[in-house]
Protein backbone atom coordinates (compact mmCIF):
# COMPACT_ATOMS: atom_id res chain seq x y z
CA UNK A 1 0.00 0.00 0.00
CA UNK A 2 3.05 2.28 -0.23
CA UNK A 3 1.64 3.99 -3.35
CA UNK A 4 -1.50 4.91 -1.47
CA UNK A 5 0.42 6.39 1.43
CA UNK A 6 2.28 8.62 -0.97
CA UNK A 7 -1.03 9.93 -2.26
CA UNK A 8 -2.91 10.14 0.99
CA UNK A 9 -0.40 11.86 3.31
CA UNK A 10 -1.54 12.39 6.88
CA UNK A 11 -1.82 16.16 6.43
CA UNK A 12 -4.09 15.63 3.42
CA UNK A 13 -6.37 13.31 5.37
CA UNK A 14 -6.37 15.85 8.20
CA UNK A 15 -7.55 18.66 5.90
CA UNK A 16 -10.12 16.26 4.42
CA UNK A 17 -11.51 15.27 7.80
CA UNK A 18 -11.30 18.79 9.25
CA UNK A 19 -11.67 21.16 6.32
CA UNK A 20 -10.72 24.79 7.05
CA UNK A 21 -12.66 27.83 5.87
CA UNK A 22 -15.87 25.99 4.95
CA UNK A 23 -19.00 27.99 4.23
CA UNK A 24 -20.14 30.92 2.14
CA UNK A 25 -19.74 34.67 2.40
CA UNK A 26 -22.52 37.10 1.50
CA UNK A 27 -22.38 38.26 -2.12
CA UNK A 28 -21.97 41.16 -2.45
CA UNK A 29 -19.67 42.35 -1.00
CA UNK A 30 -17.96 38.97 -1.60
CA UNK A 31 -17.40 37.51 -5.08
CA UNK A 32 -18.50 34.02 -6.02
CA UNK A 33 -16.99 31.53 -8.46
CA UNK A 34 -17.87 27.91 -9.19
CA UNK A 35 -15.95 25.01 -10.71
CA UNK A 36 -16.82 21.50 -11.87
CA UNK A 37 -14.81 18.40 -12.51
CA UNK A 38 -16.65 16.91 -15.48
CA UNK A 39 -14.98 13.54 -14.91
CA UNK A 40 -16.52 12.83 -11.54
CA UNK A 41 -19.14 15.55 -11.05
CA UNK A 42 -17.34 17.17 -8.12
CA UNK A 43 -18.34 20.77 -7.52
CA UNK A 44 -16.63 23.57 -5.67
CA UNK A 45 -18.03 26.99 -4.89
CA UNK A 46 -15.71 29.72 -3.64
CA UNK A 47 -16.76 33.02 -2.13
CA UNK A 48 -14.05 35.56 -1.42
CA UNK A 49 -13.75 39.08 -0.17
CA UNK A 50 -11.24 41.48 -1.73
CA UNK A 51 -9.95 44.38 0.30
CA UNK A 52 -7.21 46.71 -0.93
CA UNK A 53 -6.04 44.27 -3.58
CA UNK A 54 -5.80 41.34 -1.17
CA UNK A 55 -7.97 38.34 -0.43
CA UNK A 56 -9.30 39.26 2.96
CA UNK A 57 -11.29 36.07 3.38
CA UNK A 58 -12.23 32.99 1.35
CA UNK A 59 -14.80 30.30 2.04
CA UNK A 60 -15.31 26.93 0.37
CA UNK A 61 -18.56 25.09 -0.33
CA UNK A 62 -19.36 22.07 -2.48
CA UNK A 63 -18.40 18.44 -2.34
CA UNK A 64 -15.69 16.21 -3.60
CA UNK A 65 -13.12 13.52 -2.88
CA UNK A 66 -10.43 13.71 -0.24
CA UNK A 67 -7.87 15.14 -2.67
CA UNK A 68 -10.10 17.92 -3.99
CA UNK A 69 -11.39 18.81 -0.53
CA UNK A 70 -7.95 18.77 1.09
CA UNK A 71 -6.45 20.80 -1.74
CA UNK A 72 -9.22 23.41 -1.43
CA UNK A 73 -8.81 23.56 2.33
CA UNK A 74 -5.03 23.93 2.09
CA UNK A 75 -5.42 26.55 -0.62
CA UNK A 76 -7.77 28.58 1.56
CA UNK A 77 -5.34 28.43 4.45
CA UNK A 78 -2.44 29.45 2.20
CA UNK A 79 -3.99 32.47 0.50
CA UNK A 80 -5.82 34.33 3.24
CA UNK A 81 -4.64 37.93 3.44
CA UNK A 82 -2.36 37.54 0.38
CA UNK A 83 -2.40 40.04 -2.45
CA UNK A 84 -4.00 39.00 -5.72
CA UNK A 85 -0.59 38.96 -7.36
CA UNK A 86 0.82 36.71 -4.66
CA UNK A 87 -2.16 34.40 -5.04
CA UNK A 88 -1.61 34.20 -8.78
CA UNK A 89 2.07 33.39 -8.21
CA UNK A 90 1.21 30.70 -5.70
CA UNK A 91 -1.32 29.23 -8.09
CA UNK A 92 1.28 29.09 -10.85
CA UNK A 93 3.71 27.45 -8.47
CA UNK A 94 1.13 24.90 -7.37
CA UNK A 95 0.10 24.05 -10.90
CA UNK A 96 3.74 23.73 -11.91
CA UNK A 97 4.15 21.20 -9.10
CA UNK A 98 1.18 19.35 -10.55
CA UNK A 99 3.25 19.40 -13.78
CA UNK A 100 0.30 20.00 -16.07
CA UNK A 101 1.40 23.55 -16.71
CA UNK A 102 4.86 22.85 -18.06
CA UNK A 103 4.31 23.09 -21.80
CA UNK A 104 2.64 26.48 -21.59
CA UNK A 105 4.87 27.93 -18.90
CA UNK A 106 6.67 31.04 -20.08
CA UNK A 107 10.01 32.27 -18.75
CA UNK A 108 8.20 34.92 -16.76
CA UNK A 109 5.99 32.22 -15.25
CA UNK A 110 9.04 30.20 -14.31
CA UNK A 111 10.70 33.16 -12.66
CA UNK A 112 7.69 34.05 -10.59
CA UNK A 113 7.15 30.39 -9.80
CA UNK A 114 10.65 30.04 -8.43
CA UNK A 115 10.21 33.30 -6.50
CA UNK A 116 7.24 31.70 -4.79
CA UNK A 117 9.11 28.45 -4.23
CA UNK A 118 9.43 28.91 -0.51
CA UNK A 119 5.76 29.60 0.02
CA UNK A 120 4.16 26.27 -0.93
CA UNK A 121 4.82 24.83 2.50
CA UNK A 122 2.15 22.29 3.47
CA UNK A 123 0.94 22.22 -0.11
CA UNK A 124 4.02 20.19 -0.98
CA UNK A 125 2.18 17.26 0.57
CA UNK A 126 0.01 17.15 -2.55
CA UNK A 127 3.02 16.40 -4.72
CA UNK A 128 2.28 12.68 -4.55
CA UNK A 129 -0.86 13.26 -6.62
CA UNK A 130 1.25 13.65 -9.76
CA UNK A 131 1.91 9.90 -9.70
CA UNK A 132 -1.85 9.32 -10.05
CA UNK A 133 -2.60 11.36 -13.19
CA UNK A 134 -6.38 10.93 -13.08
CA UNK A 135 -6.40 12.64 -9.70
CA UNK A 136 -4.50 15.77 -10.79
CA UNK A 137 -7.76 17.42 -11.80
CA UNK A 138 -9.08 16.78 -8.29
CA UNK A 139 -6.11 18.61 -6.79
CA UNK A 140 -6.26 21.57 -9.18
CA UNK A 141 -10.07 22.04 -9.21
CA UNK A 142 -10.23 24.69 -6.49
CA UNK A 143 -7.12 26.48 -7.82
CA UNK A 144 -8.48 26.72 -11.35
CA UNK A 145 -11.81 27.85 -9.96
CA UNK A 146 -10.13 30.62 -7.99
CA UNK A 147 -8.14 31.71 -11.06
CA UNK A 148 -11.37 31.97 -13.03
CA UNK A 149 -12.85 34.06 -10.22
CA UNK A 150 -9.85 36.39 -10.21
CA UNK A 151 -9.94 36.71 -14.00
CA UNK A 152 -13.62 37.63 -13.80
CA UNK A 153 -12.71 40.53 -11.50
CA UNK A 154 -10.61 42.02 -14.29
CA UNK A 155 -13.42 41.96 -16.87
Amino acid sequence: MSGLEELYKEIILDHYRNPRHRGELDCPPAHKTEGFNPLCGDEVSLTFLIEEGSIKELRIAGQGCSISQASASMMAAAIQEKSIEEVRDLTREFKAMMSIHEETMTNADQESASAAALTLGDLEALKGVVKFPVRIKCATLSWNTLLTGLDDLDT
Binding site: Y16, L39, Q63, C65, I67, R135
Partner: protein, 409 residues
Protein backbone atom coordinates in the same frame (compact mmCIF):
# COMPACT_ATOMS: atom_id res chain seq x y z
CA UNK B 1 -27.07 -24.94 -19.24
CA UNK B 2 -24.55 -22.81 -17.49
CA UNK B 3 -21.57 -20.85 -18.71
CA UNK B 4 -18.22 -22.68 -18.84
CA UNK B 5 -16.31 -22.16 -15.59
CA UNK B 6 -13.02 -21.48 -17.39
CA UNK B 7 -14.45 -18.55 -19.37
CA UNK B 8 -11.84 -16.14 -17.98
CA UNK B 9 -9.17 -18.09 -19.88
CA UNK B 10 -10.72 -16.90 -23.13
CA UNK B 11 -9.98 -13.27 -22.21
CA UNK B 12 -6.22 -12.58 -22.38
CA UNK B 13 -6.45 -9.38 -20.36
CA UNK B 14 -8.04 -11.10 -17.38
CA UNK B 15 -4.79 -12.91 -16.55
CA UNK B 16 -2.96 -9.58 -16.12
CA UNK B 17 -1.35 -8.65 -12.81
CA UNK B 18 -2.22 -5.10 -11.72
CA UNK B 19 -0.52 -3.51 -8.70
CA UNK B 20 0.65 -6.97 -7.65
CA UNK B 21 -2.79 -8.57 -7.82
CA UNK B 22 -4.57 -10.62 -10.44
CA UNK B 23 -6.95 -8.18 -12.06
CA UNK B 24 -10.56 -8.10 -10.84
CA UNK B 25 -12.44 -6.41 -13.64
CA UNK B 26 -15.77 -4.99 -12.50
CA UNK B 27 -16.31 -2.21 -15.03
CA UNK B 28 -17.96 -3.96 -17.95
CA UNK B 29 -20.80 -1.43 -18.07
CA UNK B 30 -18.12 1.04 -19.19
CA UNK B 31 -16.40 -1.40 -21.55
CA UNK B 32 -16.15 -5.18 -21.64
CA UNK B 33 -13.00 -7.22 -22.10
CA UNK B 34 -12.41 -8.99 -25.42
CA UNK B 35 -12.18 -12.74 -25.98
CA UNK B 36 -9.34 -14.27 -28.00
CA UNK B 37 -11.63 -14.99 -30.96
CA UNK B 38 -12.47 -11.28 -31.40
CA UNK B 39 -8.82 -10.24 -31.26
CA UNK B 40 -7.92 -13.06 -33.69
CA UNK B 41 -10.67 -12.09 -36.16
CA UNK B 42 -9.41 -8.51 -36.29
CA UNK B 43 -5.78 -9.56 -36.64
CA UNK B 44 -6.74 -12.02 -39.34
CA UNK B 45 -8.44 -9.28 -41.31
CA UNK B 46 -5.35 -7.07 -41.18
CA UNK B 47 -2.95 -9.95 -41.88
CA UNK B 48 -4.81 -11.60 -44.75
CA UNK B 49 -7.61 -9.56 -46.38
CA UNK B 50 -7.02 -5.89 -45.53
CA UNK B 51 -8.54 -3.85 -48.38
CA UNK B 52 -11.29 -1.30 -48.76
CA UNK B 53 -14.83 -2.63 -49.08
CA UNK B 54 -17.55 -2.18 -51.72
CA UNK B 55 -14.95 -0.94 -54.24
CA UNK B 56 -12.15 -3.15 -55.55
CA UNK B 57 -12.84 -6.07 -57.86
CA UNK B 58 -9.79 -7.99 -56.72
CA UNK B 59 -9.82 -11.07 -54.50
CA UNK B 60 -8.96 -9.67 -51.07
CA UNK B 61 -11.26 -6.64 -51.53
CA UNK B 62 -14.10 -9.03 -52.34
CA UNK B 63 -13.24 -11.13 -49.30
CA UNK B 64 -13.12 -8.09 -47.01
CA UNK B 65 -16.53 -6.99 -48.31
CA UNK B 66 -17.96 -10.47 -47.80
CA UNK B 67 -16.58 -10.74 -44.25
CA UNK B 68 -18.01 -7.34 -43.37
CA UNK B 69 -21.44 -8.06 -44.81
CA UNK B 70 -21.46 -11.49 -43.17
CA UNK B 71 -20.84 -9.74 -39.85
CA UNK B 72 -23.82 -7.48 -40.58
CA UNK B 73 -26.02 -10.54 -41.18
CA UNK B 74 -24.88 -12.19 -37.94
CA UNK B 75 -25.42 -8.99 -35.92
CA UNK B 76 -28.91 -8.62 -37.45
CA UNK B 77 -29.77 -12.17 -36.52
CA UNK B 78 -28.38 -11.61 -32.99
CA UNK B 79 -31.13 -9.03 -32.37
CA UNK B 80 -33.86 -10.99 -34.15
CA UNK B 81 -33.79 -8.87 -37.31
CA UNK B 82 -34.62 -10.61 -40.62
CA UNK B 83 -33.42 -7.75 -42.84
CA UNK B 84 -29.68 -7.07 -42.49
CA UNK B 85 -29.99 -3.80 -44.41
CA UNK B 86 -31.87 -2.44 -41.40
CA UNK B 87 -28.58 -2.67 -39.47
CA UNK B 88 -26.58 0.55 -39.84
CA UNK B 89 -23.01 0.71 -38.57
CA UNK B 90 -22.04 3.78 -36.57
CA UNK B 91 -19.11 4.67 -34.34
CA UNK B 92 -20.97 3.90 -31.12
CA UNK B 93 -24.41 4.24 -29.51
CA UNK B 94 -23.76 7.96 -29.04
CA UNK B 95 -23.39 8.41 -32.79
CA UNK B 96 -26.51 6.32 -33.34
CA UNK B 97 -28.50 8.71 -31.17
CA UNK B 98 -27.00 11.73 -32.90
CA UNK B 99 -28.01 10.18 -36.21
CA UNK B 100 -31.60 9.72 -35.02
CA UNK B 101 -31.85 13.22 -33.58
CA UNK B 102 -30.20 14.95 -36.53
CA UNK B 103 -31.80 12.94 -39.34
CA UNK B 104 -35.26 11.98 -38.04
CA UNK B 105 -35.56 14.82 -35.52
CA UNK B 106 -34.19 17.43 -37.91
CA UNK B 107 -36.94 16.72 -40.42
CA UNK B 108 -39.81 15.92 -38.05
CA UNK B 109 -39.56 18.15 -34.98
CA UNK B 110 -40.46 21.79 -34.59
CA UNK B 111 -42.01 24.16 -32.08
CA UNK B 112 -45.04 22.64 -30.38
CA UNK B 113 -43.69 19.07 -30.65
CA UNK B 114 -42.23 17.09 -27.78
CA UNK B 115 -39.72 14.28 -27.22
CA UNK B 116 -40.09 12.16 -24.09
CA UNK B 117 -36.97 10.78 -22.42
CA UNK B 118 -36.57 9.54 -18.84
CA UNK B 119 -34.78 10.52 -15.66
CA UNK B 120 -32.39 7.57 -16.02
CA UNK B 121 -30.95 8.29 -19.46
CA UNK B 122 -27.27 8.36 -20.36
CA UNK B 123 -26.05 11.70 -21.73
CA UNK B 124 -25.98 10.04 -25.19
CA UNK B 125 -29.78 10.03 -25.13
CA UNK B 126 -30.11 13.52 -23.66
CA UNK B 127 -27.64 15.91 -25.25
CA UNK B 128 -28.38 15.16 -28.96
CA UNK B 129 -32.01 16.09 -28.26
CA UNK B 130 -30.94 19.21 -26.36
CA UNK B 131 -28.69 20.35 -29.21
CA UNK B 132 -31.54 19.93 -31.69
CA UNK B 133 -34.13 21.46 -29.38
CA UNK B 134 -32.07 24.64 -29.14
CA UNK B 135 -32.41 24.92 -32.92
CA UNK B 136 -35.95 23.71 -33.43
CA UNK B 137 -37.67 24.79 -30.25
CA UNK B 138 -39.43 21.52 -29.41
CA UNK B 139 -39.97 20.44 -25.83
CA UNK B 140 -38.01 17.70 -24.00
CA UNK B 141 -40.04 15.91 -21.32
CA UNK B 142 -38.73 13.61 -18.61
CA UNK B 143 -40.49 10.49 -17.33
CA UNK B 144 -39.73 10.38 -13.57
CA UNK B 145 -38.67 7.45 -11.39
CA UNK B 146 -40.31 5.73 -8.46
CA UNK B 147 -38.37 5.68 -5.15
CA UNK B 148 -37.10 2.15 -5.89
CA UNK B 149 -35.54 3.21 -9.17
CA UNK B 150 -38.18 2.06 -11.68
CA UNK B 151 -39.79 4.24 -14.32
CA UNK B 152 -43.03 5.74 -13.02
CA UNK B 153 -45.35 4.38 -15.69
CA UNK B 154 -48.39 5.91 -13.96
CA UNK B 155 -47.27 9.22 -15.43
CA UNK B 156 -46.54 7.91 -18.91
CA UNK B 157 -49.89 8.38 -20.67
CA UNK B 158 -50.33 11.94 -19.47
CA UNK B 159 -46.78 12.87 -20.52
CA UNK B 160 -47.29 11.34 -23.98
CA UNK B 161 -49.71 14.02 -25.09
CA UNK B 162 -48.17 15.77 -28.10
CA UNK B 163 -45.03 13.57 -28.06
CA UNK B 164 -43.60 12.46 -31.42
CA UNK B 165 -40.70 10.36 -30.10
CA UNK B 166 -40.14 8.38 -26.92
CA UNK B 167 -36.45 7.68 -26.41
CA UNK B 168 -35.77 5.36 -23.50
CA UNK B 169 -33.05 3.09 -22.17
CA UNK B 170 -33.77 -0.63 -21.92
CA UNK B 171 -31.44 -0.86 -18.94
CA UNK B 172 -30.01 1.88 -16.75
CA UNK B 173 -26.21 2.10 -16.68
CA UNK B 174 -26.40 3.43 -13.12
CA UNK B 175 -29.32 1.70 -11.41
CA UNK B 176 -29.26 -1.52 -13.41
CA UNK B 177 -33.04 -1.18 -13.80
CA UNK B 178 -34.56 -3.19 -16.67
CA UNK B 179 -37.35 -1.15 -18.21
CA UNK B 180 -40.58 -2.57 -19.66
CA UNK B 181 -39.76 -1.38 -23.17
CA UNK B 182 -42.52 -3.28 -24.98
CA UNK B 183 -45.20 -1.92 -22.65
CA UNK B 184 -43.86 1.61 -23.10
CA UNK B 185 -43.75 1.08 -26.87
CA UNK B 186 -47.36 -0.10 -26.98
CA UNK B 187 -48.55 2.96 -25.10
CA UNK B 188 -46.31 5.30 -27.09
CA UNK B 189 -47.51 3.87 -30.40
CA UNK B 190 -51.12 4.17 -29.27
CA UNK B 191 -50.43 7.86 -28.66
CA UNK B 192 -48.91 8.22 -32.12
CA UNK B 193 -45.26 8.42 -31.06
CA UNK B 194 -42.23 6.50 -32.34
CA UNK B 195 -39.94 4.67 -29.94
CA UNK B 196 -36.13 4.70 -29.89
CA UNK B 197 -34.36 2.40 -27.43
CA UNK B 198 -30.91 2.67 -25.87
CA UNK B 199 -29.77 -0.95 -25.81
CA UNK B 200 -26.17 -0.22 -24.80
CA UNK B 201 -26.50 -2.04 -21.47
CA UNK B 202 -29.24 -4.44 -22.55
CA UNK B 203 -28.10 -6.05 -25.81
CA UNK B 204 -24.78 -7.29 -24.32
CA UNK B 205 -26.51 -8.97 -21.37
CA UNK B 206 -29.95 -10.28 -22.32
CA UNK B 207 -31.46 -12.12 -25.27
CA UNK B 208 -32.63 -9.34 -27.60
CA UNK B 209 -35.51 -9.58 -30.04
CA UNK B 210 -36.57 -6.41 -31.80
CA UNK B 211 -40.02 -7.87 -32.51
CA UNK B 212 -40.54 -8.42 -28.80
CA UNK B 213 -39.24 -4.96 -27.85
CA UNK B 214 -41.66 -3.40 -30.37
CA UNK B 215 -39.28 -0.48 -30.83
CA UNK B 216 -38.84 1.48 -34.05
CA UNK B 217 -35.14 2.20 -33.49
CA UNK B 218 -32.48 0.51 -31.36
CA UNK B 219 -29.00 1.84 -30.54
CA UNK B 220 -26.16 -0.19 -29.07
CA UNK B 221 -22.37 -0.29 -29.04
CA UNK B 222 -19.85 -3.02 -29.79
CA UNK B 223 -17.29 -2.53 -27.06
CA UNK B 224 -19.67 -3.34 -24.22
CA UNK B 225 -20.51 -6.76 -25.75
CA UNK B 226 -17.05 -8.33 -26.17
CA UNK B 227 -16.46 -6.40 -29.40
CA UNK B 228 -13.94 -3.68 -30.20
CA UNK B 229 -14.30 0.07 -29.64
CA UNK B 230 -15.24 2.32 -32.56
CA UNK B 231 -18.18 0.27 -33.79
CA UNK B 232 -21.82 0.84 -32.89
CA UNK B 233 -25.15 -0.10 -34.37
CA UNK B 234 -28.37 1.65 -35.24
CA UNK B 235 -31.19 -0.73 -36.08
CA UNK B 236 -34.35 0.80 -37.51
CA UNK B 237 -37.51 -0.34 -39.26
CA UNK B 238 -36.89 -0.20 -43.00
CA UNK B 239 -39.67 2.23 -43.92
CA UNK B 240 -38.62 4.55 -41.12
CA UNK B 241 -34.93 4.53 -42.12
CA UNK B 242 -35.99 4.99 -45.75
CA UNK B 243 -37.95 8.11 -44.82
CA UNK B 244 -34.99 9.68 -42.98
CA UNK B 245 -32.49 11.93 -44.80
CA UNK B 246 -28.76 11.07 -44.72
CA UNK B 247 -26.79 12.04 -41.61
CA UNK B 248 -23.14 12.33 -42.67
CA UNK B 249 -22.28 13.00 -46.29
CA UNK B 250 -19.38 11.69 -48.37
CA UNK B 251 -18.23 8.53 -50.09
CA UNK B 252 -20.15 5.25 -49.88
CA UNK B 253 -23.47 6.93 -48.96
CA UNK B 254 -24.33 8.07 -52.52
CA UNK B 255 -25.69 6.47 -55.69
CA UNK B 256 -24.82 9.50 -57.77
CA UNK B 257 -23.21 12.90 -57.32
CA UNK B 258 -23.68 15.74 -59.79
CA UNK B 259 -22.81 19.42 -59.73
CA UNK B 260 -26.41 20.19 -58.83
CA UNK B 261 -26.79 17.60 -56.10
CA UNK B 262 -26.62 13.93 -55.12
CA UNK B 263 -28.79 10.83 -54.90
CA UNK B 264 -28.39 8.92 -51.64
CA UNK B 265 -27.45 5.23 -51.67
CA UNK B 266 -29.87 2.55 -50.51
CA UNK B 267 -29.98 1.18 -46.96
CA UNK B 268 -27.83 0.68 -45.02
CA UNK B 269 -25.13 2.50 -47.00
CA UNK B 270 -27.14 5.73 -47.03
CA UNK B 271 -26.11 6.18 -43.40
CA UNK B 272 -22.54 4.88 -43.70
CA UNK B 273 -20.48 7.71 -45.16
CA UNK B 274 -16.79 7.09 -45.75
CA UNK B 275 -14.68 3.97 -45.35
CA UNK B 276 -16.27 1.99 -42.52
CA UNK B 277 -14.33 0.55 -39.55
CA UNK B 278 -13.95 -2.78 -41.33
CA UNK B 279 -11.80 -4.59 -38.77
CA UNK B 280 -14.11 -3.43 -35.99
CA UNK B 281 -17.20 -4.66 -37.82
CA UNK B 282 -15.56 -8.04 -38.35
CA UNK B 283 -14.55 -8.01 -34.68
CA UNK B 284 -18.13 -7.31 -33.62
CA UNK B 285 -19.29 -10.15 -35.87
CA UNK B 286 -16.90 -12.47 -34.02
CA UNK B 287 -18.20 -11.12 -30.70
CA UNK B 288 -21.84 -11.97 -31.46
CA UNK B 289 -20.72 -15.43 -32.62
CA UNK B 290 -19.00 -15.85 -29.27
CA UNK B 291 -22.09 -14.68 -27.36
CA UNK B 292 -24.33 -16.94 -29.47
CA UNK B 293 -22.10 -19.91 -28.73
CA UNK B 294 -22.53 -19.28 -24.99
CA UNK B 295 -26.26 -18.62 -25.32
CA UNK B 296 -27.63 -15.24 -24.22
CA UNK B 297 -30.16 -16.94 -21.94
CA UNK B 298 -27.22 -18.56 -20.12
CA UNK B 299 -25.45 -15.20 -19.92
CA UNK B 300 -28.58 -13.68 -18.36
CA UNK B 301 -29.02 -16.53 -15.85
CA UNK B 302 -25.34 -16.27 -14.85
CA UNK B 303 -25.73 -12.55 -14.23
CA UNK B 304 -28.95 -12.94 -12.25
CA UNK B 305 -27.21 -15.43 -9.94
CA UNK B 306 -24.09 -13.29 -9.60
CA UNK B 307 -26.08 -10.08 -8.99
CA UNK B 308 -28.11 -11.87 -6.34
CA UNK B 309 -24.88 -13.06 -4.70
CA UNK B 310 -23.35 -9.57 -4.82
CA UNK B 311 -26.41 -7.81 -3.38
CA UNK B 312 -26.69 -10.36 -0.57
CA UNK B 313 -22.94 -10.28 0.22
CA UNK B 314 -22.80 -6.49 0.35
CA UNK B 315 -25.96 -6.11 2.41
CA UNK B 316 -25.10 -8.94 4.83
CA UNK B 317 -21.64 -7.59 5.52
CA UNK B 318 -22.29 -3.87 5.59
CA UNK B 319 -25.99 -3.40 6.39
CA UNK B 320 -26.71 0.25 7.11
CA UNK B 321 -23.23 1.34 6.10
CA UNK B 322 -24.00 0.80 2.45
CA UNK B 323 -26.59 2.25 0.07
CA UNK B 324 -27.19 0.34 -3.16
CA UNK B 325 -29.19 2.23 -5.75
CA UNK B 326 -31.80 0.66 -8.00
CA UNK B 327 -34.17 -2.31 -7.66
CA UNK B 328 -33.38 -4.90 -5.00
CA UNK B 329 -34.83 -7.81 -7.01
CA UNK B 330 -32.13 -9.33 -9.30
CA UNK B 331 -34.87 -10.25 -11.80
CA UNK B 332 -35.68 -6.57 -12.26
CA UNK B 333 -32.13 -5.51 -12.90
CA UNK B 334 -28.84 -6.24 -14.61
CA UNK B 335 -25.44 -6.70 -12.99
CA UNK B 336 -24.74 -3.00 -12.49
CA UNK B 337 -24.34 -2.10 -8.83
CA UNK B 338 -24.03 1.57 -7.92
CA UNK B 339 -23.25 2.04 -4.29
CA UNK B 340 -22.31 4.48 -1.60
CA UNK B 341 -20.25 3.10 1.25
CA UNK B 342 -20.26 5.11 4.51
CA UNK B 343 -19.19 8.60 3.46
CA UNK B 344 -16.22 7.53 1.39
CA UNK B 345 -16.07 9.50 -1.85
CA UNK B 346 -16.21 7.20 -4.94
CA UNK B 347 -12.85 8.52 -6.16
CA UNK B 348 -11.16 7.54 -2.94
CA UNK B 349 -12.94 4.20 -2.83
CA UNK B 350 -11.90 3.27 -6.35
CA UNK B 351 -8.32 4.41 -5.64
CA UNK B 352 -8.05 2.05 -2.67
CA UNK B 353 -9.60 -0.78 -4.69
CA UNK B 354 -7.19 -0.14 -7.54
CA UNK B 355 -4.30 -0.93 -5.21
CA UNK B 356 -5.77 -4.43 -4.99
CA UNK B 357 -6.22 -4.76 -8.73
CA UNK B 358 -9.97 -4.17 -8.53
CA UNK B 359 -11.37 -2.03 -11.35
CA UNK B 360 -14.62 -0.20 -10.62
CA UNK B 361 -15.98 3.06 -11.95
CA UNK B 362 -16.24 6.21 -9.85
CA UNK B 363 -18.16 9.20 -11.10
CA UNK B 364 -21.45 10.35 -12.53
CA UNK B 365 -21.56 7.64 -15.22
CA UNK B 366 -22.62 10.15 -17.88
CA UNK B 367 -25.99 10.48 -16.18
CA UNK B 368 -25.83 13.79 -14.33
CA UNK B 369 -29.60 14.44 -14.28
CA UNK B 370 -30.04 11.04 -12.59
CA UNK B 371 -27.25 11.83 -10.09
CA UNK B 372 -29.16 14.97 -9.16
CA UNK B 373 -32.36 12.92 -8.68
CA UNK B 374 -30.44 10.55 -6.40
CA UNK B 375 -29.01 13.51 -4.48
CA UNK B 376 -25.36 12.56 -5.06
CA UNK B 377 -22.57 13.97 -7.22
CA UNK B 378 -21.08 10.58 -7.91
CA UNK B 379 -21.37 6.89 -7.10
CA UNK B 380 -19.04 3.91 -7.11
CA UNK B 381 -20.20 1.38 -9.67
CA UNK B 382 -19.26 -2.27 -9.94
CA UNK B 383 -20.61 -3.93 -13.06
CA UNK B 384 -20.43 -7.59 -13.99
CA UNK B 385 -20.36 -9.66 -17.12
CA UNK B 386 -20.20 -13.25 -18.26
CA UNK B 387 -16.55 -13.69 -17.19
CA UNK B 388 -17.06 -12.55 -13.61
CA UNK B 389 -17.56 -15.02 -10.79
CA UNK B 390 -18.12 -15.07 -7.04
CA UNK B 391 -14.41 -14.58 -6.34
CA UNK B 392 -14.59 -11.15 -8.03
CA UNK B 393 -17.54 -10.20 -5.85
CA UNK B 394 -15.72 -11.45 -2.74
CA UNK B 395 -12.68 -9.29 -3.58
CA UNK B 396 -14.92 -6.23 -3.88
CA UNK B 397 -16.79 -6.94 -0.67
CA UNK B 398 -13.58 -7.58 1.31
CA UNK B 399 -11.88 -4.41 0.09
CA UNK B 400 -14.60 -1.90 0.97
CA UNK B 401 -13.75 -2.11 4.64
CA UNK B 402 -10.17 -0.90 4.28
CA UNK B 403 -11.38 2.10 2.29
CA UNK B 404 -13.79 2.84 5.12
CA UNK B 405 -11.04 2.70 7.73
CA UNK B 406 -9.01 5.22 5.77
CA UNK B 407 -11.67 7.71 4.74
CA UNK B 408 -14.75 7.51 6.90
CA UNK B 409 -15.31 10.88 8.54
Amino acid sequence: MTLPSDLKDRFPLLSQIVNGHEIVYLDSAASSQKPDCVIDAMNNYYETINANVHRGAYEIAAQATEEMEQARRRIASFIGCQSPHEVVFTKNATESFNLIARSWGGSNLSEGDAVLITDMEHHANIVPWQILSAEKGFEIRWLPLTPDGLLDLDQLDQLLDGVKMVSVTAMSNVLGTLNPVSEIAERAHAAGALVAVDGSQYVPHLPTDIQELQADLLCFTGHKMCGPTGIGVLWGREELLDSMPPFLGGGEMILDVRRDGFTPNELPHKFEAGTPPIAEIIGLGAAVDFLDSLGMENVRQHEIALTDYALRSLNDRYGDEIVIHGPSDPLQRGGVISLEYRDVHPHDLSQVLDQRGICIRAGHHCAKPLMKELGVVATSRASMYLYNDESDVDALVDSLESAGEMFAL
